[in-house]
């Protein structure tokens, strides 16, 4: 038993390294040797976690990953609890279909962070993902519940097909954000390419955004500007091509 399990990248992968087995809830049950033996796939071939990582610690629901993990896919996929900290960039499918716990990435992520598996009706159903960097496309796609925060820019399709839940982007939000959203909130502190099927409702100072941003500053230690916390937001309802009960809140000044 230790406080934290640390996985330090020892051998850089040559191709996609699928790490869906690495979730804090699973590692909390395993001894060091068992963690090293967890199955992963490298370029479609079966391998073990220990082939790529030096494992320190065991039986802890706090997991820290070190190294350049841009080729690592599916970190924290479907995790139900615990903490996952990635000290650097991560690849696609971070926290895909996640159900609980927290993920923090201190770098950029690939596509589909907090998104859904191919063909799945719903993606993330709970938990929090904080990306201290840029996110690829489809962050929070098909989310049912939970929180995805991107401190940098987000690619296309952020919150695409959201059923409920919250996505926050401090930087720029790419096109097709919120397309086919049923419910849920997308908070855009920077510019956002909004689909035409979102309709303007009002401009106001939403109290829940203030609470949410204060939480991110105080509890998660993010650098949140005062003007976003106290500022006004344009509220747009959508996607009107769907249920239309979602909202996009775009910062509109102090």
């Amino acid at each position: 038993m230790s406080d934290v399990v640390t996985l330090a990248l020892r051998t850089a992968p040559a191709g996609a390294l699928e790490l869906a087995a690495v979730t804090p809830d699973r590692l909390a049950q395993l001894a060091q040797r068992e963690i090293a033996a967890l199955p992963v796939r490298h370029g479609g071939r079966a391998a073990a976690l220990g082939d790529f990582f030096v494992v320190q610690g065991e039986r802890a629901a706090r997991v820290r990953l070190e190294g350049d993990l841009r080729l690592a896919e599916g970190l924290g996929a479907a995790m139900t609890g615990g903490e996952l900290l990635v000290e650097g960039h991560a690849g696609r499918d971070v926290g895909v279909a996640m159900a609980g716990g927290t993920i923090e990435v201190r770098g950029d992520t690939g596509d589909n962070a907090g998104g859904a598996l191919p063909g799945a009706a719903r993606g993330m159903v709970g938990g929090e993902i904080v990306i201290r960097g840029n996110a690829g496309d489809d962050a929070g796609a098909r989310m049912r519940r939970g929180l995805v925060v991107v401190t940098g820019n987000a690619g296309q399709g952020t919150g695409r097909g959201m059923i409920a839940g919250t996505a926050v982007v401090f930087g720029e939000t790419g096109s097709d954000a919120g397309r086919w959203t049923k419910r849920g909130s997308i908070v855009a502190c920077g510019p956002v390419a909004r689909p035409a099927t979102f309709r303007y409702a009002c401009t106001y100072r939403p109290p829940h955004v203030r609470l949410l941003l204060l939480y991110l500053r105080e509890r998660r230690g993010l650098d949140v500007a005062d003007r976003w916390i106290t500022g006004r937001y344009d509220r747009y309802c959508g996607d009107l091509a769907e249920l239309g009960k979602g909202e996009m809140l775009q910062w509109a000044g102090e």
């Binding site: 699928e18 796939r41 370029g43 479609g44 071939r45 079966a46 598996l117 191919p118 063909g119 799945a120």
Partner: protein
């Protein structure tokens, strides 16, 4: 290990086609064929204490083509749940491929898993001729196994026109041309007339004498025309028939009527379990396995595969689109309707057979009744209609059910009893299949029914497709994990590990036909088809 020579030494050989039932002898292989003897210094594979059989032959399976691929697209969650890493092959220059499993594995995984199960030949049982090119491309990417495909006929406009006009000879020439053009191995009939009528906006047919467009065309006429064509063309496998009314309570009457309609003609009735239901549509269900199998037993020109239902996930996938539409409507499960623009139809519904569901339990019991009441294992062979009744990976479990009465009775107690009570199975069927009978229903029988004279046996000159099992009293375990599998003389599975993945052969026929039919066909293509006549064949046609 060299392909050239190998002596499989000291195993108990089960080669029912040559009358060998467990005799301990050597099996010698040279250049991909079984030979009588080898010099003493030839490489040896120690099979002492093991069971040696010919490689498995699957007479009816869905593994390639448009319908199968649409099924894969419909099942992304299965791919996430069952990733299939690339195997570690012995040859460093070979390129193993990763893939996905589930009820419809990806093409490479299909080849690897069939071989891993000791099967070396499989028939793709339903290919729309217009999409045959797709099926061939996928089979090219399905390693190890030799494969053929059955071309769908019986709901296609040109054939029905010939039947309406009473042109039996031209219908036969057309069937021969389509089979050649599709690169097919046999003629498959699915719900004759029913798919066409449903596609035209009407209702599915309910019996053999329903009119399809015109009174001159009925399911009965379609069946007779194609059965006669296949037999006149001397195809190695007769018409492969999926009867009308699949899956309906009371459909055993239709099945028996179909068998009687074709009396005296060779015909293969596929997934018989799905066609052996008593009771009344919309009202009651019961087993009619006994009536159906008694007819099969008494008529040597009739053969069948069982199409056993196994509990667990499945994907129902058939050219019988009206049936899939009904299943979708009654189960509320997602479906796709594809190939509807081709000469046939196709519907797909992911499904799961649950032990606690009364109808699923009955289907399971009916399949076992057919197996246990069949008198001639050479004519009633093993299939699950993969992936319709269950994956081919469930064959070992099915074999255990057939071989182990104690296990079977135990399982019977665990299923829903509502409809099973009163069936022959519940009354107690004592029969246990012997290893020799299993060898018949899984390799020798299907090979003989398919007319594959080089497969399903270990006589001199046969293809060197051999499976070697550890003689485990747990038959499910024994058949799930063969120790060694040899395909065409190449050891593909070694000590239970897939080590080599050679390319399989394509099995096809090229029956002769009167070229005059092509002139009329070209006119029909010019007037009605979406492709040019010249572009239709999926394979090069012989001169």
């Amino acid at each position: 290990m060299s392909k050239a020579r190998l002596r499989i030494a000291g195993g108990a050989v089960y080669d029912p086609a040559n009358g060998t039932e467990g005799a301990v002898r050597d099996v010698c292989i040279e250049d991909g064929r079984i030979v009588a003897e080898l010099p003493r210094e030839a490489p040896k594979l120690d099979a002492r204490g093991m069971v040696v059989m010919p490689g498995g032959v699957d007479i009816h399976s869905h593994i390639a083509g448009s319908s199968v691929n649409h099924g894969r697209r419909l099942l992304p969650e299965e791919h996430a749940a069952d990733p299939a890493p690339a195997p570690r092959l012995a040859d460093p220059d070979a390129t193993p491929r990763s893939g996905t499993g589930g009820t419809i594995p990806s093409s490479f995984t299909t080849g690897y898993r069939y071989a891993g199960l000791g099967y070396t030949t499989a028939m793709e049982a339903a290919v729309a001729p217009l999409a045959a090119r797709h099926a061939h491309c996928e089979l090219d990417d399905t390693p190890i196994i030799d494969a053929g495909l059955f071309a769908l006929l019986g709901n296609d406009d040109y054939l029905l026109r010939q039947i309406a006009a009473g042109e039996a000879a031209r219908a036969r020439d057309y069937a021969a041309w389509v089979l050649s053009a599709a690169g097919g191995y046999a003629i498959k009939i699915v719900n004759p007339g029913g798919v066409e009528r449903w596609k035209a906006g009407g209702r599915n047919v309910t019996g053999l004498d329903d009119a399809v467009g015109t009174d001159a065309v009925t399911p009965r006429r379609i069946l007779e025309t194609l059965a006669d064509a296949a037999n006149a063309l001397e195809l190695p496998h007769p018409v492969h028939i999926h009867c009308n009314n699949l899956g309906q309570a009371g459909n055993a009457a239709t099945t028996l009527e179909t068998m009687r309609a074709l009396a005296g003609r060779r015909a293969h009735f596929t997934h018989l379990q799905f066609h052996s239901y008593g009771g009344e549509r919309g009202k009651s269900w019961k087993s009619a396995a006994k009536e159906v199998i008694e007819h099969v037993n008494a008529h040597p020109e009739v053969s069948a595969d069982v199409g056993q239902v196994m509990f667990g996930p499945a994907t129902t996938l058939t050219a019988d689109a009206p049936v899939e539409y009904l299943l979708h409507a009654s189960s509320g499960k997602r479906w796709v309707n594809v190939d509807i623009e081709l000469e046939t139809g196709c519907g797909i519904v992911p499904y799961s057979y649950k032990e606690q569901a009364a109808v699923a339990a009955l289907q399971w019991a009916i399949g076992l009744e057919l197996f246990l009441l069949a008198q001639d294992p050479w004519r009633v062979v093993l299939s699950t209609d993969h992936p319709n009744g269950g994956s081919f990976l469930s064959y070992p479990e099915l074999i255990r059910l057939l071989m182990d009465r104690g296990y079977r009775d135990e399982r019977l107690k665990q299923v829903n009893q509502k409809l099973v009570a009163g069936s022959a199975l519940a009354d107690g069927l004592a029969r246990e299949y012997t290893l020799s009978e299993i060898a018949i229903v899984t390799r020798a029988g299907p090979a003989r029914l398919l007319g594959l004279s080089d497969k399903g046996h270990l006589g001199v000159g046969a293809d060197a497709d051999v499976t070697i099992y550890a003689n485990d009293p747990d038959r499910a375990k024994m058949f799930a994990t063969p120790r060694h599998v040899i395909k065409g003389g190449v050891v593909v599975v070694e000590e239970g590990q897939l080590r080599r993945a050679p390319t399989g052969r394509r099995l096809r026929v090229q029956p002769g036909y009167d070229r005059a039919v092509t002139r009329d066909l070209k006119r029909w293509f010019d007037g009605h088809a979406c492709v040019a006549f010249e572009n239709y064949p999926a394979v090069e046609l012989g001169a």
